[in-house]
Amino acid sequence: MKNSRLIGFLPWLVVGLLALFPLVESTFYMQLLTKVLIMAIFAMSLDLLVGYTGLVSFGHAAYFGLAGYALALMAPKYETVSLWWSLPASIGVCALFALITGTLVLRTRGIYFIMVTLAFSQMLFFIFHDTKLGGGSDGIYIYAKPTMKLGEMELGSLEKLENFYWLVLLLTAGSYLLLRRILGSSFGRALLGIKVNEHRMRALGFPVFKYQLASFTLSGALAGLAGYMAAVQYGFVNPEILSWHQSGAVLMMVILGGMGTLYGSVIGAFAFVLLQEVLSNQAWFGIAAKHWQLAMGIFIMLVALYMPQGLAGLAQKFGRKPAEETSDE
């Protein structure tokens, strides 16, 4: 009992410690951590599909990238845009796109679903790559960060690294709480039921398609939140953020951390981004760092073969039960 309360308290401790981070560190590691948190939101959004609805999407980068492009296209050049409307609008665009593609891809299952999600994300990639709409293969710059004003007062300029970091931290924690809440609700239980036994859910009277579509749309919207923040952080978007490597990377984060646990996605994002940084560190690996993807590829294959439950699964194996149980109550 005492133990479980301690574990329930753990996420808050982590958030608290992370919030203090800018006081001790600046620039490089703060930027890196911001990136980790953004990827954590992205990974959690995919875990909702893969780990909780039983839908393996290999095209999740589409929604991530689309939000970035939405911001870039909505923001007037060289002028600032308000976060208050550009963020909801970008997320809305993603949700709408997810709703439309969802109605199509959810007509398929299994291998088909994987291929079709990938194909639709590639469609978006080619739209932005081949047309002038989004600056072609060069992409678009976002010269000024969005503003957060309350009346005339600036709540905190996002040009300042720590402000942006805190915002992203807040959104990550918020996304986590939101998803926890949703997954514990009747709706969330129905999603889990669909993941476990879709056929029986249907026989019980659940309109499975509607639930899946709602989950798909929510997931796309949340990926959009992450994509928006990524675009703000980097100050530009190009077709690469829509590429299937992005989809593969985020899927890897979900599995690496442990799918169907939510917090695993956060751990997975952390581990994956860190690993990427380490492997591509020229100071440590010299010329080999240039080919870091080789090591990454081998690592991914090893995880797929030998660590299907990810880090969360490992933790469970070694006796320490994680804070949340997924499948049963």
């Binding site: 893969v50 393996v56 290999f58 199509l104 891809v105 007509r107 398929t108 299994g110 291998i111 088909y112 994987i114 291929m115 079709v116 990938l118 194909a119 639709f120 590639q122 469609m123 080619f126 739209i127 790559h129 081949d130 047309t131 299937w244 593969g248 899927l251 890897m252 599995i255 799918m259 080919h291 993807q293 080789l294 990454m296 590829g297 081998i298 690592f299 991914i300 294959m301 995880v303 797929a304 073969l305 299907p308």
Partner: protein, 288 residues
Amino acid sequence: MDFAFFLIQLLNGLQYGLLLFLVASGLTLIFGIMGIINLAHGSFYMVGAYLAWSLSSMTGSLTAAILLAIPLTVILGMALERLLFRHLYQRDHLYQVLLTYGLILVFEELRSLIWGDDVHGVAVPALLNASIPLTDNLSYPVYRLAISGVCLLLAAGLYFLIQKTRLGMMIRAGASNRDMVQSLGIDIKLIYTLVFALGIALAAFAGMINAPLSSVFPNMGGQVLIICFVVVVIGGIGSVKGAMAASLIIGLAETFGQVLVPEVAGMIVYVLMAIVLVWRPEGLFGRA
């Protein structure tokens, strides 16, 4: 558009479609029979193209290069099936996706280490390096016709293999009932190895013969893979017939799209896929 021009586009579309068929048929066979989704299938196309380039610059002949490269890719396919894919048959598609995605990264980096990151052209074999004049200023390259011919021959061979031979019967039985095949004492493991190697070799061969037309370049496998996914979705998983029909449809649609509506040509295949998904989610020749 006059007739000669139309004819050229038609031939180009068919040639492109037939080439797609070589890659997609292997993909769909591996899906259908072994239940494996192989994202790295496009990498074998790339490996084929790079082998054709490097071996032909060593030997001075594309034909010699292809003859050398085919056994190499078959061995590669068999080795990978034994070492990696065999562990995936009973696993969730999720892990197949992850493993084969990792494999793509490995292939791309090995390609970069062995062959570098430059774009290379491959010479058309001298014997086929000619054009057939159609009008005063339009002509059609013999090499493209040769590709189409070879692809058709292979397609016919594949049809014969699957429909008429004992191996093909086992393949078809394996697709429909794994346990039955095993209870008949047929070595399903061997069949899987052979099917996988066949699929890999077909993809690699497509890369080889297309190298003079497309040249060889990094990440060339990715594009082909995605288009072939669309082909498989449209044709129906596991259906070689469907793969043929869908390949030709896509080949023609893309080729004519690029001529008639170049701005949106890249979109056409996806629109076609969306239509098929709405109309027949299991694919044109898929089992409902």
